[in-house]
């Protein structure tokens, strides 16, 4: 792994004081390999390595720390910094019921994550309702209803267009004194003009307090394109990275952070209703480094 490889490089170094540029270059090559293998975007890797190089050459080697540990520490800190240092909770806004939209590409885990969020919020004693806003995928509402039933959260789908469904759900939500409405949306490509326009229209109409981009944690270099296009068109407020219960390193997280600057609020770690965790940057940093 990266730690061992860096260790081998620095074993050969005898000098104390400042690290030489050559030493750092060699270490950076190893780090570059590790990050690219972890699906961190090519451009994000480049920027990150420049930052690490700059800091490594400036810092004097500490007395009890080996040069490799020094570079690794700088890298780790840069990763945690990029991933977002503070934990950011959900914003419920001023109006009741609060509206939370989950958006993203096909199959990323939106429907499942809607239910996980509903479960978490109802555990926190909030009155939650799920809105079946996906009018396209076969049996999308059945999927949500079966899951909603399991956690005793009502699932509403009244109307034929997503706009009607959300509008009616808001009326019902107000009547039933709901605190939060979680809206499941149709999976869509970031380059599908019609679908992105629909989403733009929905966020403009309803001004949700949260628009969460749900991204598959195994996504490769394409994460940059996805994040860019979604951020361009709609007011993304946060990110949820799913399927991190596998062994994907999750480098897409860095790409999304670099492009959107929005906080990663949760990660999905399984298919069950309680498999939603708060995001810890240091844990993901370690995972990305392998």
């Amino acid at each position: 792994n990266l730690t061992e490889r860096l260790q081998n490089i620095f074993k050969r170094l005898r000098n104390r004081g400042l690290l030489s540029e050559k030493d750092v270059e060699e270490a950076l090559r190893e780090i570059r390999q590790a990050l690219l293998e972890a699906d961190v975007h090519y451009k994000v890797v480049k920027d990150l390595l420049n930052k690490v190089k700059e800091k490594s050459l400036k810092e004097e080697v500490l007395k009890n720390v080996s040069p490799f540990q020094q570079v690794l520490k700088i890298l780790y800190e840069e990763l945690v910094e990029l991933l977002g240092k503070e934990r950011v909770g959900l914003n419920f806004g001023k109006k009741k019921p609060a509206l939370i939209f989950l958006v993203g590409l096909q199959g990323s885990g939106k429907t499942t994550t809607c239910v996980k969020l509903a479960y978490k919020l109802s555990q926190e004693q909030r009155r939650v309702m799920l809105v079946a806003g996906d009018t396209f995928r076969p049996a999308a509402v059945e999927q949500l209803k079966i899951l909603g039933e399991k956690i005793k959260v009502p699932v509403i789908q009244e109307g034929s267009s997503s706009k009607e469904i959300i509008d009616n759900a808001l009326k019902i939500g107000k009547e039933r004194l709901m605190d939060v409405l979680i809206v499941d949306t149709t999976g869509r490509l970031h380059i599908d003009e019609e679908m992105m326009k629909e989403l733009e229209d929905l966020t403009n109409t309803f001004s949700p307090s949260e628009v969460l981009l749900v991204l598959d944690g195994m996504t490769g270099q394409d994460a940059i394109n996805i994040a860019e296009k979604f951020k361009q068109r709609i007011p993304i407020t946060g990110i949820i990275l799913t399927k991190l219960d596998g062994d994907a390193r999750g480098g897409a997280a860095l790409s999304v952070r670099a492009v959107t600057g929005k906080p990663i609020k949760f990660i999905g770690v399984g298919e069950k209703v309680f498999d939603l965790e708060y995001f810890y940057p240091d844990r993901l940093a370690g995972r990305i480094l392998g």
């Binding site: 699906d39 076969p138 079966i146 598959d216 490769g220 270099q221 394109n225 596998g246 062994d247 390193r249």
Partner: protein
Amino acid sequence: IFKINKLDDNFYEELEAHLLQGDLGLELTEEIIREIKNKKFSQLLEVRIFLKEYLCALFSGLNNNLNLHPEIINVIIFSGVNGTGKTSSIGKMAYYLKSLGYSPVISASDTFRAGAIEQIKIWGERAGVEVIAQKEGSDPASVAYNSLEFAKARGKNVVLIDTAGRMHTKTNLIEELRKIERVVEKNLGYPVIENLLVIDATLGQNVIKQVEIFKDALNLTGIILTKLDGTAKGGVIFNLVKRFSLPVKFVSIGESIEDLKIFQPEEFIDNFLI
């Protein structure tokens, strides 16, 4: 990249960036760049020709046809990690095979995920193909068994088996897939004709680990690469083909029933190099 004029360091950096951003992976990218540099080409056109030939060669000798025999019951299993497009690919495949004159039946063997049975029943209706199902939570292998019995009774010659998405890291779930293969083989007296791993083109290097584990456990015969209508290039495929000699049989380029196409290596490579 092929708009650049001379083969200098800047060119090689741009080429490397393009290959890596297409999910080709560092190892294969460095190997290709090394080979190109060793050739000491002077023309951009030479590089492009070399690249295309190199990538095309990775697919030579691989049979990307479905190995169907009309007189027997051909079983095709669809496996893969969560959300890659297995269920919708089955709907599209049923439609495609019906258009070729086969009589398929679908086995709703994803008995785990909420709404999976309802979802595939709708695809079955769209394709005009029957779906054999039991209730949610029943044994996937038992649904497969019932589908085989149905096929025998009704003269169907293709059984398309849907399976629940699963992480390759969950050993017991991989074992569940092996059981389906065994039950089919025991019932028919010959193995599953095709076991296709459905891979999402937007996924990165982890796909290699997925194939490693699925291939080791199952008799994988091919790959279906989905979601190529996005911006992802699916470059992991080159590594998969090189490392595992696993043919790519189909690609999915959208969510409609006719969006499943036979894989064409040259077309895939042309799109990758754009």
